[in-house]
Assembly symmetry: C2
DNA sequence: ATAATAAAGGACAAAAATATCTTTTATTAT
DNA sequence: ATAATAAAAGATATTTTTGTCCTTTATTAT
């Protein structure tokens, strides 16, 4: 098991890719994004459609069309992507799968895991989509392989 | 998405259940365990079979048979269960799904996530299977609902 | 207007995870 | 020895996730 679903991994990588590409103002076709992050093209298309519905990415049809991020999207937190794709289970769910995580009916791992979960939440909440553009441009960070 | 697979959640809950039940020396049938943690009986049977092969639980066939944990099992870390069921992805895998997580080819979330992953690893490694028996007996902790 | 381009949408397919069913094997008590 | 018990093992079924295909819609350039 990974922290995020595969779908969510693709979504985050794609949005990072888009962020740094559309910082220069251009639009990016699905083919280029998929090649850039190493994902199945048509599956990624579905994912971006959903993110589009939720206002996390923008797109334009026709020649010179493609996906892009506006300034508003660039400043949104990663947690928005994660919630859109994987829901809030990773933030609020019980580590051992109890119906609901609570202080009054805690599972054995509750107190320890709550602390870790909160860290994940804070990390994703304070990190914005556009935050890594510089490093991506400089090739210090990777979205592929 | 949750932290662990459903299979792994069942596995941990079942082993906790067994731990506190076999502290008094008895064996516990699969029906009772499944009812105790709220899991599908026959699916749990498969899971416990696999844990048995790996020496994490013990079992005996026939009348008065059932599952139990010996002293050795009680002192093993939770990470053994997690690795047996979910593999080591949660400890070593890249948050964004890159083939391998490394310092030389880091994804944008690498440094932040590595810290969190390490915490999860340490938590599961230092926590033993038998550790919560007292609280379970006292009903302070829950394995169901 | 027409043709070309590119995303949107709906239907379908394959793979993996979860769950169930049936038969076999080992153990115990009679 | 025999019958009853309970886990092991193997086969099958269902559901969810992941991935693909095909048609439609919107936009642009000619
Ligand atoms: S009840 Fe399990 S993590 Fe809170
Ligand atoms: S490379 Fe992604 S978490 Fe280390």
């Amino acid at each position: 098991m990974a922290i995020f679903s595969k779908t969510c991994e693709y979504a985050i990588r794609a949005v990072f890719f888009l962020a740094h590409r559309s910082a220069q103002g251009g639009r990016v076709g699905i083919k280029e994004i998929a090649a850039g992050i190493g994902s199945p093209e048509l599956y990624l298309a579905k994912i971006l459609q959903e993110l589009g519905r939720r206002g996390l990415v923008s797109s334009a049809k026709g020649p010179n069309g493609g996906f892009y991020l506006d300034a508003a999207s660039l400043s949104r937190p990663l947690s928005d992507i994660v919630e859109a794709v994987d829901g809030d289970g990773i933030f609020r769910g019980c580590a051992l799968g109890l119906k609901q995580c609570s202080e009054t009916n805690p599972c054995p791992l509750h107190s320890q895991f709550k602390a870790i979960r909160d860290q994940i939440h804070h990390l994703l909440h304070r990190t914005t989509i556009g935050e890594f553009n510089e490093e991506l441009v400089q090739g210090l960070l990777s979205l592929k392989k």
